[in-house]
């Protein structure tokens, strides 16, 4: 598959503050690239540079072979962008919003009706054509925003937290839609804070303090040696009174980290700890704990990486 986005040494400084630091990135056609990172780590700045809104301070990026800054007009025509908050015109109807974006993107008059019908059926908003955008519920607003971003048939889509604040059903529907479109050759750059969404992406990148720390498929990331340092093992512990158990576990010398995960505890322990943990728990008054080794989740990956970077920063 050809590369759709290539960034080399992409950097953006605001005064003394470096918002994006020396980012190298390559995204292939048909990828759903999940972009994660804490708030304020530089996600939006990077998207803005890739969309041609912001001039890079150093380095450069191309989208479909066009330089994002010097050829930003060409780039803008071929990308779709859906911003963090709902940013369509609430006093325009669904059709009017779509028609407006079709005109803005220069969809020829003769093709507009066809394109509108197409995107309306893709996102399934046909029953609400005449409804004012402001009167739609959250999930439908999100679909409309996606439809507007799709109306000019972009090959590359940037979605900035597309599922923030919508219900789980609408969220799943939206992701199914993304898979469909990606299957047809569209490429997606999606930022999110949801780990389950990150797990669904074909590729994931993690930005922390302006630096892209890692980038790869979710499976590649889980197998990174950094995530499961030598001599450690990840365990799932099931027992009653999780909160107390977590505090108790953290006092064991061979436990490096313990957190609650739904109805169980995820523990990063020194190798060999798996034999001692059940007994130690029983001694601490926790009855019949079940202990299994597990692979790391993406959340484990990001938390471990963030902690080790934090330690490195504080050390330095």
């Amino acid at each position: 598959m050809p590369s759709v986005i290539v960034a080399e040494g992409l950097t953006r400084r605001f005064g003394r503050f470096t918002a994006v630091d020396n980012v190298d990135l390559e995204i292939e056609q048909g990828d759903i690239f999940g972009f994660l990172g804490p708030n304020g780590s530089g996600k939006t700045t990077l998207i803005r540079m890739l969309c041609g809104l912001l001039r890079p301070s150093a380095g450069h990026a191309t989208v479909m072979g066009r330089d994002t800054y010097h050829e930003s007009e060409l780039v803008k025509r071929s990308i779709g962008y859906m911003s963090q908050k709902f940013s369509l015109y609430t006093d325009l109807t669904v059709t009017e919003n779509l028609l407006f974006y079709a005109r803005v993107y220069g969809v020829p008059r003769s093709e507009r009706t066809k394109r509108l019908d197409e995107v309306i059926s893709i996102v399934g908003i046909g029953n609400y054509r005449k409804r004012l955008a402001g009167e739609l519920s959250g999930g439908w607003k999100q679909r409309l925003a996606l439809a507007c971003a799709l109306v000019h048939h972009p090959r590359m889509m940037f979605l900035d937290e597309p599922t923030a604040g919508i219900d789980p059903v609408a969220r799943r529907d939206l992701w199914n839609l993304l898979f469909d479109l990606a299957g047809q050759g569209s490429t997606f750059f999606v930022t999110t804070h949801y780990m389950d969404e990150a797990e669904r992406c074909s590729h994931v990148g993690y930005i922390y303090f302006s630096k892209l720390i890692i980038c790869g498929t979710p499976n590649e990331l889980k197998q990174l040696p950094e995530v499961s340092p030598g001599g450690t093992i990840r365990l799932e512990v099931r027992c009653p009174r999780l909160a107390n158990a977590m505090r108790h576990l953290n006092t064991f010398p061979y436990v490096r980290d313990a957190t609650i995960f739904a109805d169980s505890l995820h523990v990063l322990a020194d190798r060999g700890g798996e034999q001692r943990i059940a007994d130690d728990m029983k001694q601490g008054g926790f009855e019949s704990p079940e202990v299994h080794p597990i692979p790391p989740t993406l959340e484990d990956v990001f938390v471990t990486l963030t902690r080790s970077r934090e330690a490195a920063r504080n050390g330095a």
Binding site: G52, L53, S87, L92, F100
Partner: protein, 370 residues
Amino acid sequence: MFRGLTSIVYKETIHTIRDPRTLFLMLLIPSIQLTLFGYAIDLDIKHIPTAVYNLDGRQPSRDLLDAFQNSGYFDLTHPVFSDASLFQTIVRGDAKVGIKIPPDYTDNLLIGRKTAVQVLIDGSDSSVAMQALNVANAIALRRSLEIVSTAVGVPTLPIEARPRVLFNPDMKTANFMVPGLVGLVMQLVTMILTAFAIVREKENGTLEQLMVTPVSRFGLMVGKLVPFFVIGTIEMCFVLSIMYFLFQVPINGSLGLLAAFSVPFLFTSLGLGLLISTIASTQIQAIQLSFLIVLPSVLLSGFVFPQETMPLPIYIISQGIPLTYYIRILRGIIIRGAGFYDLWMWAATLVGIGVFLLSVSALRFRKTVS
């Protein structure tokens, strides 16, 4: 350069039609303002409440007081009987002028000696004070001349000035103020509306969405201005009708020329709104910035105070205010019946300011987005 212009105009038109209440207010507010202010602002100061302390009380003193009363400028409403109460009446604000006639007024007149009538004037309202001072002096002078001419035996005064006030012979304040008001309310409404229209898009995040589309800066800005230009033009017809029919201000010059020269003014007002919108990021900030522009426009544009008497630095500032030129155009055409060649330079100046504002806004626009 104007890529996306028509699509923006399409969208803005829908916005405007969807919101008939705002549209209605936009057209109504200037009319209401003009009507209210037009009636409220009256520089013809007459019937000044006056306190009188007459220590003489004989016929000549009453003749003098009659002269004050008959001038129409003074209403002798408060007879008082001590110096203290004369002063107090003015301090309380019941009277703005106090006249004190000395006990020997008639005696002095009869023996041909100089006599002093004290006129106290409340200086807290300078325009009233100025008027009272001039009229009081004129009345005293006139009485003196009458007495002198009778004594000398010359029945008429040798020299008489015959002033003729051109264009506004009755010195009606409305004729002077209302054309200026037209410019002021037009500027206020068009500027604030434009600023709001763009700042609202910033607040809603739709502006960011627009910036990733291929719409050009000029396409976006001009597209935003077109609907407001249309509304401004309609509004102009409203306020001019009110001026003509309600305040009976005759339009002595060409209506076509007035319309033509109003275009560059509307253009600069919209440009000011645009500039505000590039600075403000919320509608509250936009209002505050508008006031920063409105106040100098009221005070320095020549709307109330003549610019000729301003200190040089203030005068220079006043020459940067678009309303300054439009008021010259309005008063020129409406009151003096001036033609194209009398006023074209002011229209040209407005075009220059408009182009300047639009260019600065365009430059700033790019920065704000970054």
